[in-house]
Amino acid sequence: MSGELLLFPPSASTAATHLDRLMLALTLLMSTVIIIVGALLVVFCIRYRRGARMPRANAPSRSRRIELIWSTGPLLVFLGIYAWAAHDFLELARVPADAMPVFVVAKQWMWKLEHANGRREISELHVPVGRPVRLTMTSQDVIHSFYVPAFRIKQDVVPGRYTTLWFEATQTGEYDLFCAEYCGTQHSLMRGRIVVMSPADFAAWLDRGTQQPSMAQRGFALFRSYGCDGCHGANSSVHAPKLDGVAGRTVALADGRNITADDTYLRDSILLPARDVVAGYAPIMPSYAGQIDEADLMAIIRYLHEGAAAQGDEDEQRH
């Protein structure tokens, strides 16, 4: 990005067009109010300065009608702004179903991103234009914040849970990625780039990456290397819940509750197996807390989502 004076960041996502419309309206509204208040201030100061011959006899010191108007008036305007902004915000909160998943792990002062097919990037993200992208993010140490000014989106990345963020790029090009939540010494260097490409270029780029197994396949490899298949494998003798197709299924727990096995529950069960034990099984699973890296954890969970398909399939798995 050249260094010219930049007043308005590029508007390169669906969210950006909505936000710019709201900001234009808000800026106009606020500047009219500040101009009116400023003008009244100046006019009153000049007309009613000491020594100016003006009628000052019975200036009223209260009037219920005027005071009612200038309190209910702003209230109605505020509710209008609130509704408009809340509508846009809820759109940001609802992730479209067909969004392309990208997994983000924030670490002190860098971003580690991984595409579904296993392609990994450090502090750079290549995305196709015109397609919604869903980021599932977690942090390995402190709170960071994934902020792309050009897309007008920002979401804190909190350790200990997944936070999601989605955007749909509308313009190809390179845009800045900032960390917006203070995260330590080199917080201001935790920056990156979002490269928006045409779908064809993106598909080519996705393949040209170094040939490595898809994320699910890597997850299956880890599933074996950590000994999970020793108990959860198809032909294991140990009495442990079978995991094929478990992702998204409702699971009955030992204490009577039944919950849907979303990413968080799967991650919980790996790190804290004794918390939500499945009905009919003893809490004998060892905890893997502190041994599996966040990115590997996501790979295993990805494998649990794609299940058998990833086991046999050797060739490139394109998403």
């Binding site: 140490d141 200990g160 849970r161 968080t264 529950y265 790190l271 807390a289 502190g290 890296d293």
Partner: protein, 103 residues
């Protein structure tokens, strides 16, 4: 027995009775109602202590004080509670990074 002392002894015995009641009620398998009963009795005991021992009834300024403080205290539970009640993602277990940098 001085009139005042009689009120204090009466209040004292009521407090001990309520203590026995709340303790006994804890073992009744009434599920979530246990919490409600326990806190209800605790509130009743607190009211007795405040009214009889602290003469809260006497000064309206003190009552206003307690009212405002309880209202503001409940604000934490109500509004921050609304966040936790409607937050969809449960906090996933967080594992410290393999190399933990303690200061």
């Amino acid at each position: 027995m001085h009139r005042n002392t009689r009120r204090i002894v009466l209040a004292w015995s009521a407090l001990l009775l309520l203590l026995a009641a709340t303790c006994a009620s804890a073992w009744l398998p009434i599920g979530v109602w246990n919490g409600v009963v326990n806190l209800g009795i605790a509130a009743l005991k607190a009211a007795i202590v405040a009214a009889v021992f602290m003469h809260l009834g006497a000064s309206s300024a003190a009552r206003a004080c307690v009212g405002v403080a309880l209202f503001v205290l409940l604000l934490i539970f109500a509004l921050a509670g609304s966040d936790y009640a409607t937050r969809d993602l449960h906090p996933a277990a967080w594992q410290p990074p393999p190399t933990r940098t303690m200061p």
